[in-house]
């Protein structure tokens, strides 16, 4: 690696158009995020076609803002990295084609990055990794426990069998008629309520690190339905607190058990739901006497951003990974496969 290495990253997998620059793998130079959340609010969720339309309107503006914020030019960049997947295909396509265009025009190396690898690597902008480490990835589309024995290698030891945790939050929020996005709303209500309803916890079979949230989601919806039929008043704060208690209990308990079993040095929380106050508190409590160091990224690195893609992309780049001009959006990109692909090209 030369003395100072700069990596530019583009992330457009969902409803944020984001560009960032990271220096020497771990130092954040700039992190610009153009959020579309206001535009999608009226539909109660992200509309893929509208997301794609916003991305193309915002792409070059966001790129320019990032460079001017950093006081740098494209010539200063050593690599162009981009989220290749998973995500919404039309949204990903804007970022992928923008990244290819920069790399081609300025004759720079191009690297495709897995979105979840990015979420995990967001933490490395705060604290150096120590292997082996475990990452609990929780977002609107993902609930996974990922074991990393070294840089760029990802082993999924547990994942959701149905809904992602974030999805369950959104559905319960909709039932409680909370505005979009529902996750933070439930978290806020839960802080004001008490766990008065005993919702089920899906532990699954002994020793499994998999998750399941669809049963819990149905239990909440059924309970609300029953209350309505009986004219019984349930405080939304208490429903939110009871629902959240079930989710964070399962997440933090399984994360803790896995950390013990694999003897990991660090436990990293990643993804949008890592911003959840209830989850943060439960994990802190579980790990307070543990040998394993618990790392939770600051809020601006939990939600989708390009700094995390730059952080993961810089490592991939330094491990020798390169994409060709035929790089495509890959909405179903597999994390383990992505990791092994990188190793093969070392």
């Amino acid at each position: 690696m030369k003395e100072n290495q700069y990596v530019l990253a583009i992330e457009t997998s969902c409803d944020e158009t984001a560009v960032a620059i990271v220096k020497n793998e771990t130092e954040l130079v700039t992190n610009i995020v153009a959020s579309q959340i206001e535009s999608h609010k009226r539909f109660g969720g992200v509309v893929p076609e509208i997301a794609s339309r916003h991305h193309i309107e915002q792409m070059t503006i966001t790129l320019e803002e990032a460079l001017s914020d950093a006081g740098m030019t494209l010539d200063d960049m050593d690599a162009i990295t981009v989220t290749e997947g998973p995500g919404l295909v039309g949204a990903l396509l804007v970022g992928v084609n923008a990244a290819k265009s920069i790399a081609f025009s300025k004759d720079k190396p191009l690297v495709g990055v897995h979105h979840i690898a990015g979420h995990i690597y967001a933490n490395r902008l705060e604290k150096e990794f120590e292997f082996p480490l475990l990452s609990l990835v929780v977002s609107g589309g993902h609930t996974e426990l990922v074991l990393m024995r070294e840089h760029g290698s990802f082993e999924i030891i547990g994942e959701t069998r149905d809904d992602a945790a974030g999805e369950a939050y959104d559905k319960v929020a909709r039932t409680l008629k909370l505005p979009y996005p529902g996750g933070p709303q439930i978290d806020r209500l839960a802080q004001e309520g008490e766990e008065t309803i005993d919702f089920p916890r899906a532990w699954l079979e002994d020793g499994s690190y998999d998750f399941s949230f669809s049963g819990l989601k149905s239990a909440v919806i059924n309970r609300l339905h029953k209350a309505k039929q009986r004219d019984e008043y349930l405080k939304p704060e208490d429903v939110a607190a009871s629902f959240q208690a079930s989710v964070v209990d399962v997440l933090s308990t399984k994360a803790y058990r896995a950390a013990e079993e694999y003897g990991v040095k660090q436990m990293i929380v990643a993804g949008g739901v890592a911003a959840n106050k209830g989850l943060r508190a439960a994990l802190k409590e579980k790990f307070k006497d543990s040998e394993t160091e618990l790392l939770i990224p600051p809020l601006h690195l939990c939600t989708d951003n390009a700094a995390m893609i730059a952080a993961a992309g810089a490592v991939a780049f330094n491990q020798g990974h390169r994409a060709g001009w035929d790089l495509n959006a890959n909405p179903g990109l597999d994390l383990e496969l992505y990791g092994s692909r990188k190793h093969n090209s070392k």
């Binding site: 509208i50 792409m59 396509l93």
Partner: protein
């Protein structure tokens, strides 16, 4: 002036390099598949074979729709971001006009169209000198043809989707309609490049696709707002 032209707005994927007004190279395929994978390798090939480096370019031209939403965005993202990276202007050319120019020497009106499903088309009407007679729109083909009938003059129809609408065109317009064979029915990127040469480039960030249609979710939402 050296111009790179890009068109991925419909079935055709086209790349051309124009140098001082002459066509140096042109690459066209007519398969609506994998534009995202194949576009940059095609640009790389045409640029290499014509001995053009990215920094030799003075302008980028792009077909900005209407057409396939995704296709239009692939071409436009590439054109805008290349132009932005190189610090040169980008010019958008209507995908319909690009097709219309294939009929630039026809004595009468030229009508390019793209099928937009459920009897609808994206279309517009051009005179032989490429001035616009009827603005681009998303309209029922039947209504459009009845409007054209009133013009009374011969009309050249240019479209890859001719087969879908051929019967109706002949039914309504009879002898008034002229339907050429395949090579005239799609846009050529070199024609997009030469049109772009004449145009005044606008602000780069403001170049956006011309979809001619709202996203379905937004159309429904607006409908509901009106009912309220």
């Amino acid at each position: 002036m050296n111009i790179l032209a890009i068109d991925t707005s419909n079935y055709v994927m086209g790349v051309a390099v124009l140098k001082e007004g002459a066509v140096a190279g042109e690459y066209v395929t007519n398969i609506k598949k994998n534009h995202s994978i194949r576009l940059m390798p095609a640009i790389d090939q045409v640029m290499k074979e014509t001995g053009t480096k990215p920094e030799d370019l003075d302008r980028i031209a792009v077909a900005h729709g209407p057409g396939s939403y995704t296709g239009v965005r692939i071409g436009l993202t590439t054109a805008k971001t290349m132009a932005w990276s190189l610090g040169i202007p980008v010019v958008g050319v209507s995908s319909l006009e690009a097709v219309a120019r294939q009929g630039a020497f026809f004595p009468g009106y030229v009508c390019p169209f793209f099928d937009a499903r459920r009897g609808l088309v994206y279309t517009g009407l051009y005179r032989a000198d490429m001035t616009i007679e009827k603005a681009e729109q998303n309209i029922l083909m039947k209504d459009w043809l009845n409007q054209l009938k009133d013009l009374g003059e011969p009309i050249l129809f240019l479209s890859q989707d001719l087969k879908v609408h051929e019967e109706q065109i002949k039914d309504i317009l009879g002898e008034q309609a002229v339907l050429p064979n395949a090579p005239y029915q799609y846009a050529r990127p070199s024609i997009i490049a030469s049109s772009a040469q004449e145009l005044e480039p606008g602000p780069l960030h403001e170049l956006v696709p011309n979809y001619l249609r709202l996203p379905e979710a937004e159309a429904k939402w607006l409908e509901q707002q009106e009912k309220k």
